[in-house]
């Protein structure tokens, strides 16, 4: 019971997505989830042990670490990945509802229960808006918590019980910075993909609506 669960969820979502939606699933799976599990987790594994302050006062390191990292980057990204994948469940539930309705009536009510039209289109658009909103929310929150998208080599700390301003050194700052940039970039890419999918769907269905009305007027 771990990221395998999310992987199964994403594979399920793939069935009912548009082409851009499938690209989004691939980006999330390869460039975010896999990268997180295979690489990022190990970089942040010993962040607390390797955080060193230029002082022997017991408790100073703990307090300074807690002050500069209220929530560890890695946990933040884990939460972001889970929250961003969850709105897709709405689409899965709606399709299951449709299939169930067909079974109940023992007749074909929909040409294809997984086709994005009618009520399912609304659900799909809502899930896209939620996904985009959550991505932006997490990016903004990260920026506010850590004063930007940077990881300094050195932080100065003067919280009790540290007797005075103390230099504290963060472990592997450059490597962390590289992965931070990568994960923020993939986050932005996912936002762009979601927005283009949203505009594509809205454009496609407004054209369809317009043509239908045009044909009806002619008749």
């Amino acid at each position: 019971m771990s990221w395998v669960f999310l992987r199964d969820l994403l594979s399920g979502v793939n069935k009912y997505s548009t082409g851009i939606g499938r690209i989004w699933v691939a980006v999330v799976f390869l460039f975010r989830l896999l990268l997180y599990v295979a690489a990022a987790e190990n970089i942040w594994k010993h962040e607390h042990d390797e955080f060193e302050c230029n002082i022997k006062q017991p408790g100073c390191e703990n307090v300074c670490f807690d002050h500069f990292f209220p929530v560890s980057h890695i946990r933040f990204w884990a939460l972001q990945l889970i929250m961003v994948s969850t709105p897709s469940l709405l689409v899965i539930f709606h399709v299951a509802y449709r299939e169930n309705r067909e079974k109940h009536h023992n007749q074909k009510l929909y040409k294809n229960p997984g086709k994005i039209d009618g009520g399912l289109l609304c659900t799909y658009l809502i899930s896209l808006i939620l996904k985009t909103g959550l991505e932006i929310f997490f990016l903004v929150l990260f920026y506010k918590l850590y004063n930007g998208f940077k990881i300094p080599h050195l932080v100065k700390c003067d919280i009790k019980p540290c007797p005075s301003t103390v230099d504290c050194y963060i472990s592997k700052p450059t490597e962390k910075m590289i992965f931070l940039c990568f994960l923020v970039a993939t986050s932005c890419l996912c936002i762009v993909l979601n927005l283009s999918e949203l505009s594509y769907l809205m454009f496609k269905y407004s054209i369809k609506c317009y043509l239908k009305r045009h044909v009806q007027k002619q008749q």
Binding site: M1, S2, W3, F5, L6, D8, L9, S11, G12, K15, H48, D49, Q57, P58, G59, E61, N62, V63, F65, D66, F69, P70, V71, S72, I74, R75, A78, L79, I82, T86, L89, I92, F93, A96, Y97, E99, N100, R101, H104, P161
Partner: protein, 262 residues
């Protein structure tokens, strides 16, 4: 034997749940078990190693840690999740018993048995009525009780839902009142509040499900009483439609691809 096994067991129960029950199960797996395994366990991973006391006295750190954390948050949540998931087993056992009875009837060649083969019996989804209704409702009731008890126990043991940065300890063999510092207190507070919030959402879902089942029960009783007064085979078209809607709502999400099928 791990959380995956629990997923398999509860997935089977999911088929016979109401739609609110299915939402509860999703919330349980994604926002509680998954967060626990993937994130929270790492945050509490170094809690004893990085629990630092301002003293060189051997044993003082151990004793203070034990005094302030009689049971680690993580273990308490794991226990809570196990207890909260267990009442669903009552429903699973009841369904298994009914299936066993149907299979026995089928094998005897009973005329009343409406199934054509064993596979159909195995795949059949039982409606929540009769004795199964009582089992299902009591399982939700026990779930609610366990959630409330664990939340209260957590609040009582740790004096609230906040993790302090500094604790003052004067247990023997510490020579006097000693400052002890907890590792990652803010991150722990954030996750504690998250888990408590999701726990509260689960309690609300359980209460909603309980109210829904009670309402369904009383509606059915009044409908039966009404029907027995009127002509026996009279069918009200609107009532049929409403029943169909209710059934569809309660049958939805049956074959979700999250793997919640038996």
């Amino acid at each position: 034997m791990d959380w995956g096994a629990l997923h398999t067991i509860l997935g089977g129960v999911n088929k016979h749940s109401t739609s609110i029950g299915k939402i509860w199960l999703t919330v349980l797996f994604i926002f509680r078990i998954m967060i626990l395994v993937v994130a929270a366990e790492r945050v509490w991973g170094d809690e004893q190693d990085d629990f630092v006391c301002n003293t060189l006295q051997p044993g003082c750190r151990n004793v203070c840690y034990d005094h302030f954390f009689p049971i680690s948050h993580i273990r308490l949540w794991a226990l809570q999740l196990i207890f909260v998931s267990t009442p669903a087993l009552l429903v699973a056992m009841h369904v298994a018993y009914r299936r066993h009875e149907k299979k026995r009837q089928f094998r005897k060649g009973d005329q009343k048995c409406e199934f054509k083969d064993i596979e159909e019996i195995r795949k059949q989804r039982f409606r929540i009525e009769g004795s199964l209704w009582w089992t299902y409702t009591s399982s939700i009731f026990f779930r609610l009780v366990f959630e409330a008890v664990f939340m209260y126990a957590f609040y009582f043991m740790y004096d609230g839902f906040r993790m302090p940065r500094l604790m003052k300890c004067s247990a023997w063999p510490c020579p006097n009142t000693v400052d002890c510092f907890v590792s990652r207190p803010t991150e722990k507070t954030v996750f504690t509040i998250f888990m408590i919030a999701v726990s509260s959402i689960c309690i609300l879902l359980n209460v909603a499900e309980l109210c829904y089942l009670l309402a369904k029960f009383f509606l059915r009783r009044s409908k039966n009483a009404g029907n027995s007064k009127q002509q026996p085979n009279h069918e009200n078209k609107e009532e049929t439609k409403q029943n169909e809607m209710n059934e569809l709502i309660s049958d939805s999400c049956q074959n979700t691809v999250i793997g919640f099928t038996s």
